[in-house]
C-alpha cells in the first residue's frame, strides 16, 4: 500500500503545499510508502533559489531536498506543467523525477490524496 500526495496549488499563496509536505513526511516517519507529485501551478514549489524572506515565509527547498533521507520514496513533477511554467531540469531543485503520464503515476499508488 502506497500513498501519493498531490500538490497542485502554487507556493506561498496558501499553506496547502506545506501541509501536503507534512503529510508525506508523517507517512514516511511511520514507515508507510509515500510519494509526492507536483502538478499544475504546484510545480513552482520546485524552482531553485526561492527567497521568501521578504514575505515572511520559509523556503521549502531544504525540506524537499531532505525528503529522501526521511524515507519519502519519490518526488515527481508533471512534465507538461514544468514546461508550461518554464521549468527546465536545470531550474528544478535536486532529486525531482519528471513524470510524463499522470494516470500512470496515480495508478502506481493505492491511495491518492490532496492536502486541501
Amino acid at each position: 500500500m502506497s500513498t501519493l500526495i498531490i500538490v497542485d496549488q502554487p507556493p506561498y499563496g496558501t499553506w496547502a503545499g506545506r501541509e501536503a509536505l507534512d503529510m508525506v513526511f508523517s507517512l514516511a516517519a511511520f514507515d508507510q510508502p509515500a510519494a509526492l507529485l507536483f502538478t499544475g501551478a504546484g510545480v513552482n514549489w520546485l524552482r531553485k533559489q526561492q527567497a521568501p524572506d521578504a514575505i515572511g515565509q520559509k523556503s521549502v527547498e531544504k525540506n524537499l531536498s531532505a525528503a529522501p533521507m526521511f524515507g519519502v520514496e519519490e518526488i515527481l513533477a508533471d512534465t507538461a506543467s514544468c514546461e508550461r511554467f518554464g521549468l527546465g531540469p536545470e531550474q528544478l531543485v535536486s532529486g525531482v523525477t519528471l513524470a510524463e503520464n499522470l494516470q500512470d503515476v496515480m495508478n502506481a499508488h493505492s491511495n491518492v490524496a490532496f492536502a486541501g
Partner: protein, 135 residues
C-alpha cells in the same frame, strides 16, 4: 453488504467551504448503512470546525455544534491536527498552559493530536474519504 470502517478527513473550513456540511451528511448516511467511522480528522483549514467560539446568527446552522453533537451521540473519535490547529488559533487547555495563552477554544469532543492519527486511519480503515474546500 459487509460493514466497512471509514476515516473522514475534513480540510475545508465552515463558512469558507461546504466541506463540513457535505461530510456531516455523508457521515450520517454511513451510520444508517451500518458502517463504522473510526475517526474524523480535521486538517488544514478544516480545524476551524473545532472552534467552540464560532457564533453564526441564530437563524443559521452552527456547523461546529452540529458536528460536536453528532460525534458525541455516536461516540466517534475526532482529532484536530496539532500543527494546523495551533497556527490557526484552535487551542485546548494543555496547549494554553504550554504556550501561556489567554484562553482556549477547542470544542468537545474534539481532541488535539498529530498527523500520526491520520496515518493510522490510512493503515487501518477500509476507506479514507476527504472533504476539501471547493474554491
Amino acid at each position: 453488504m459487509t460493514p466497512l470502517s471509514y476515516t473522514l478527513v475534513i480540510t475545508g473550513a465552515p463558512w469558507s467551504s461546504q466541506a463540513p456540511q457535505s461530510a456531516l451528511a455523508f457521515a450520517r448516511e454511513l451510520l444508517v448503512a451500518g458502517h463504522r467511522i473510526d475517526r474524523v480528522f480535521l486538517y488544514g483549514e478544516g480545524v476551524l470546525l473545532a472552534s467552540a467560539l464560532a457564533t453564526p446568527p441564530s437563524d443559521e446552522v452552527n456547523w461546529p455544534k452540529q458536528w460536536a453533537g453528532f460525534l458525541a451521540d455516536n461516540a466517534i473519535p475526532a482529532t484536530v491536527c496539532i500543527a494546523s490547529a495551533l497556527r490557526r488559533g484552535i487551542i485546548d487547555d494543555t496547549e494554553q498552559a504550554r504556550y501561556e495563552l489567554p484562553g482556549n477554544n477547542l470544542l468537545e469532543p474534539f481532541g488535539i493530536a498529530g498527523l500520526g492519527e491520520w496515518v493510522e486511519g490510512n493503515v487501518k480503515s477500509d476507506r479514507v474519504i476527504y472533504f476539501h474546500g471547493s474554491n
